[in-house]
Amino acid sequence: MSDAIEHDRDPARDSVLAAALADLDPEPPTDAVDWDRLERTVALRAREHLAGRSPGAAWWELVAAWARPAIPLGVAAGIVLFLVVLRLPARPAEPPEPLLLGDEVAESVYRGDPGLLLRAAFTSEDPIP
């Protein structure tokens, strides 16, 4: 077995040495321990201490509790908002160009006869001659 030291990793376990040590040191008598009783005793002794540790939620615990669902909801809302903004027209709609009426139509309107104008509005006829 190599006796050189390797600083960056553990050496292999030495079974001969382990056996000699095991013969010298009695094995921990884990079978003789009543683990259930030990566990109950510890739980009983710990109860009071644990109860003192949960005095109701402090404000930062409430914030922490709400933060968990609030963060994904906020992200989802942000995505929806982003999509809505993306669908909006890039520039505000320009005002419609003023309707230019032909002289004939304009004169008929001035005369108090909207017939030509109405006909132009309800047909495909261009009011601008």
């Binding site: 077995m1 006796d3 030291i5 390797e6 600083h7 990793r9 553990d10 050496p11 376990r13 030495d14 001969v16 040495l17 382990a18 000699a20 040590l21 095991a22 013969d23 010298l24 040191d25 009695p26 921990p28 008598p29 884990t30 003789a32 321990v33 683990w35 030990l38 566990e39 005793t41 510890v42 739980a43 002794r45 710990a46 109860r47 201490h49 644990l50 109860a51 003192g52 540790r53 949960s54 615990e61």
Partner: protein, 168 residues
């Protein structure tokens, strides 16, 4: 556990009490003392749980408490009485010669172990008998892994010299 969760604490107890007991027994050599100590160490860990960093493994942190308390308990016990060293367990050897040979081997290995520092003894036991890695032992003893490997190397060389002399 830091928020008083009983189930979480029970899970920690279940997971670590056996190994904690083994470590305590390796240092104290008595079952009842090791049982009491692991109980006290679990409660001490609970009381000090605010000092535990949640991202880190609980085991080494808890075993460190066990080791420190076991050393303190052993010192206190040594002050109370000059007893100590558990009686050699009755060996079921087939012959008186073999019995005598093993007894001599144990006596000489015990002498070799006594020549090691307390830390080296514990490192050898934790590594060879309890199966801890160098890094885990370093975490438990709060020293660097390189220091653990160096101590292990020196301790094993001393013990192997003894075993080689005995068997060579």
């Amino acid at each position: 556990v830091q928020r008083g969760d009983h189930a979480a604490f029970d899970a920690l107890v279940q997971r670590h009490m056996r190994r904690g007991f083994s470590i305590a027994f390796r240092i104290l050599g008595q079952r009842e003392d090791a049982e009491d100590l692991v109980q006290d160490a679990l409660l001490a860990a609970l009381e000090a749980i605010d000092g535990f960093q949640p991202g880190k493994p609980f085991g080494p942190w808890f075993y460190r408490i066990v080791v420190n308390r076991a050393y303190n308990a052993r010192k206190a016990r040594a002050r109370r009485a000059t007893e100590e060293i558990p009686a050699e367990t009755a060996a079921s050897s087939p012959s008186p010669e073999r019995n005598a040979e093993r007894a001599e081997l144990r006596r000489r290995l015990a002498t070799a172990m006594e020549s090691l520092s307390e830390r080296q003894r514990l490192i050898v036991r934790l590594f060879e008998l309890e199966g801890f890695t160098g890094a885990e032992i370093a975490d438990i003893l709060q020293v660097r892994a390189g220091t653990v490997r160096w101590d292990l190397h020196r301790a094993r060389r001393i013990l192997r010299d003894f075993l080689g002399e005995e068997h060579g």
